[in-house]
Every structure is written in structure tokens, then in C-alpha cells.
Symmetry: C2
Subunit: 259 residues, 2 copies
């Protein structure tokens, strides 16, 4: 069975998509068959891998609203062993949530869709979530074995941690008892400022034993790669950002393996 | 009557809160009586101005769910002529949206609350929105005269612009015909990379004539100020970030005045 990992944090712009795309790329490069699911209506993960959203037949929303085998929405990426279920922006975020709200068993839709995959199709499934704790993120947390929480090394990113961890434990108690926090990944660390180091310390106190050793540095290559439709592995594998995501992926494998 | 301006963009981390807080601070410093409303469940605008969320009696959610005069939730900030309606995290984002969804006339709740203010209490009301196009942002767009759209100078921030402008025109046609895009404010411009300049050019093509002349540079002072509970005006008024927000505020006054 595939390990299903959600990238979630309702704070915006903390590196959920960048982490989902680059962890997936290094998992695939490391020999693991990997599926990335983009449930953010903005479709940033879809375009970060160079896919044309208009050219995709089915998106994750079609499957969630009108259940069909998930395999029908899977498209290849430019990388071996890495496949994607795209998000297309036909429906606005609020329309998708509204359409889902009207359905019964609405938080289980993604879990049911994942159950339609052949049991040994993938080793890892990563889910990129939108910046909210609404029904789309709820679907991801209900379907996942674990959550990786990207946190930007900035003060405002500290605010929502209590809300987020409450939500995760609420989902664990009500919908998905196997859900666990796999780890907290610190992102956009800027060594030139004291602020970054202070935030890392604060998060270490809040989530003891759950913080990845690897801290992702702020680096322009990571922000440029999506404009070329490539992961950092494809765009600039020697950059500090690439080496950091390679190390973070190795930690993810170890953490996911332990459970 | 006060000019009501929403800071909205469903892309996360683009500088909505930073812009809402600092534009409000410079409007107040410029002699305008200003009210900042924080409708983001994370409450970043509330803590950026140094307010203790636990100490606030009423939050915007209490008013939206169980209508009462908005003035009852207004609290002073450390700055003259600047007042705040705080967001407290009692209700998770998804719970607030769920509670609001059940009410009739749900998208008008904020507009109705604003109507309870004395007509000449404020010159400007700014509303800081969460990173989604759900019911909370819909409430802000329905109540507002204008929208300022902060856009980070990064590739991924370009993706959702079509969705956002579609949403604004949908609200204009269905709920609030006076709604208009006051301007697009480019944020976190990093002069050391080509990427920033390329994104500004792209946005200028997408929103001709609506882009603020002032571009907000990336600067650590802006990210540090909230950890001291101060606007950039209070924290470091001589910094490049402070001077840029002062200039952007003057543009906002001119743009809001013209309409
Ligand atoms: N380590 C990094 N260094 C520099 N830029 C980065 C880094 N990580 C992410 N970015 C850039 O920062 C912005 C925010 O990152 P990203 O979009 O991955 O966050 P997100 O949490 O997925 O955002 P949203 O909340 O909108 O889904 C993007 O423009 C991205 O390219
Ligand atoms: N010009 C700037 N230079 C440096 N850092 C900035 C700048 N503007 C904002 N920041 C920082 O970037 C992060 C994102 O900004 P902010 O929280 O204002 O965005 P937002 O759009 O309100 O995010 P959300 O989508 O979560 O509401 C914050 O940590 C903030 O302190
Ligand atoms: Mg994202
Ligand atoms: Mg914000």
C-alpha cells in the first residue's frame, strides 16, 4: 500500500506547493513510484510540473464530485516514476467546496477515490492542499496516513499552528485514526536575519521531536523553477535548495518508514 | 461615508495582511480616521498590531453570526485614529464558513454590520481577507467599494489572477455593483533577481492601468515588525519598506478619491 502524505498549512505562501513538488521529484528519482495530487483550485502544483491545465481531460474535482476511478485522471509528468492528478480551475475554490458540501460523506470523497487505485500502483502519494482548513483540506487529511507541515521562517507563520494542530487531531479522532504528523519542515530560512533562527526555535518548542533536521533555505532558484515547469531537480540540481529538498526527502523516507 | 477597501487575493502569502496593516497605519498618520477589520481566522492583522486575541471580548465572527452593532467589537490600537475589529481564533476558518453558510443572506452579513456604524465615524475601512475565495472573502467583496489586490513578485502568484478577477466581477454583477478594482499592489520585489521584474511586466499586461506605480520591495524590517506588534511606521519609519508603504498610501488616497 502506498504511503499517503498531505502537505497542509492554512497559512498562505509557506511552501506547501514547493515542498509537494520537490519532495515528489526526489522520491521518484530515488526509485519510488510517486503520485502527486493537486487539490488546490489554483493548480500551482500542476503548472509547477509544466502541465497545461486546459489540456487535462479530468481533474481531481471531477472525481470528487462525480466519483470515477482515480486512475482516469492521472497524467504523466516529464519525470520517470512521477505521475500527477491535476487541478484545473474550471470551478472556483468556493464553488468546489460548495458543490462538495452538498454531497453526503463529503469528507471521505478523496479517500474513496484513492481506494479505486490498484493496491500496488504507487509507493508514495503526496497531496498539495490549498491555504485553508475547509472541505478540500479536510478530504486530504481524511485520506492521508501522515501530514507534513511546511512552515515559513517568519513570525506570522507561527500564528495558525495551534489551529492547525487542533484540526489534525479533530480529523484523527473523527474521520481517520491513522493520521499522524510525520514532520514539520521549516522553509525559506534566511541566514542573514535573526528572525529566521528565532522562528525555528519557537517551532521546535511547539512541535518537539517532529521538526525535520533539514531546513530549506530561501533561494531564488526554488522560486524560478516553476516558471520553467520543472522541479528543482530538473531545473538546478546543484543549488542549495535542491540539496536541501534531497536531504528532506531522505528524512521523509526514514520518518514514513518508521511508522 | 467611509471608503471601504478589501485586501483580497486567494493566493497565500502575497502580502495582504502586511499591506492592510501598513496602509491603515499611514492612512491614520495622514489624518484619516481608519478602521481595520480582520476577517482572516488566523488573525494575523490583529496580532500585527500587538493586540492579544484572548483579551478581546467580541470578534468579527460574533458579529457575523449573531448580528450586533459593529461598534461593540471595535478596539483601539496603539496609534491615534487607527481602530481595529479583531479576529479571534475561537472558530476555525472552516467552522466559521460552515456556520455562515447555514444563515440566510449570508454574503451580506459584513455589509449589514458596517451599516450599523455611525455614518461619519471613519474615513477609510480596510478589510484583511483570508487566502481563499470562500464566504468570508465574499462577505468582504460584497461590503467593499473597492479592492486592492496585493501580488507577490513571484511566478506562482500569477496563476490565480484570472480566478480572482472573475470572482470580483461575479460579485459586482450579483451582490455589489459599486465594487471596483482600485489597484494592484506589487509586493516583495527583489531587485537582485530577473524574476521580479518579469512578473511585474506580466501583471502590467493583465491589469493595464490598474497597477500602483509604487512597488513594495522585499525587506526584512517588514517581516520583523509584526513580531513587535507594530506597523512598519511604528517599527522602522526610515526603512525602504516604510517609505514604499507611505507612497502606496498616497496613491491609494488619490485612487480612492478619484472614484
Ligand atoms: N525556499 C524557498 N526560497 C525561495 N522562494 C521560495 C521557497 N519556497 C517557496 N518559494 C516561493 O515562495 C512562494 C510561496 O511558496 P508556495 O507557493 O510553494 O507556498 P504555498 O504554501 O503552496 O502557497 P499557497 O498557500 O498559496 O498554496 C512561491 O512563489 C514559491 O516559488
Ligand atoms: N515586502 C515584504 N518584504 C519582506 N517580507 C514581507 C513583505 N511583505 C510581507 N512579508 C512577509 O511575508 C509573509 C507573508 O506576508 P503576509 O502574511 O502579509 O501575506 P498574506 O497574503 O496576508 O498571507 P495569507 O495568505 O496567509 O493571509 C509574512 O511573514 C510577512 O511578514
Ligand atoms: Mg500552494
Ligand atoms: Mg494574511
Amino acid at each position: 500500500m502506498a504511503r499517503i502524505i498531505a502537505l497542509a498549512n492554512q497559512k498562505g505562501g509557506v511552501g506547501k506547493t514547493t515542498s509537494a513538488v520537490n519532495l515528489s521529484a526526489y522520491l521518484a528519482a530515488g526509485g519510488f513510484r510517486t503520485l502527486l495530487i493537486d487539490i488546490d483550485p489554483q493548480g500551482n502544483a500542476t503548472s509547477s510540473l509544466g502541465l497545461d491545465k486546459e489540456a487535462c481531460d479530468l481533474s481531481i474535482y471531477d472525481i470528487l464530485i462525480d466519483p470515477a476511478p482515480l486512475a482516469g485522471a492521472v497524467v504523466p509528468t516529464g519525470q520517470e516514476r512521477l505521475a500527477l492528478v491535476p487541478s484545473t480551475s474550471v470551478l472556483l475554490g468556493s464553488e468546489t467546496e460548495a458543490a462538495l458540501t452538498a454531497l453526503s460523506g463529503r469528507e471521505q470523497r478523496l479517500a474513496e477515490a484513492l481506494d479505486t487505485l490498484p493496491p500496488d500502483a504507487y509507493d508514495f502519494v503526496l497531496i498539495d492542499c490549498p491555504p485553508s482548513l475547509g472541505l478540500l483540506t479536510l478530504n486530504a487529511l481524511t485520506a492521508a496516513d501522515g501530514v507534513v507541515i511546511p512552515i515559513q521562517c517568519e513570525f506570522l507563520a507561527l500564528e495558525g499552528l495551534m489551529q492547525l494542530s487542533n484540526s489534525i487531531y479533530l480529523v484523527k479522532r473523527t474521520f481517520n485514526e491513522r493520521l499522524d504528523i510525520v514532520g514539520v519542515l521549516m522553509t525559506m530560512f534566511d541566514a542573514r536575519t535573526r528572525l529566521s533562527a528565532q522562528v525555528v526555535e519557537e517551532v521546535r518548542r511547539f512541535f518537539p521531536n517532529r521538526i525535520f533536521e533539514t531546513v530549506i533555505p530561501r533561494g531564488v532558484h526554488l522560486a524560478e523553477a516553476p516558471s520553467y515547469g520543472q522541479s528543482i531537480l530538473g531545473y538546478d540540481p546543484a543549488s542549495r535548495g535542491a540539496l536541501a529538498y534531497r536531504a528532506a526527502t531522505n528524512e521523509l523516507i526514514a520518518r514514513a518508514g518508521l511508522r
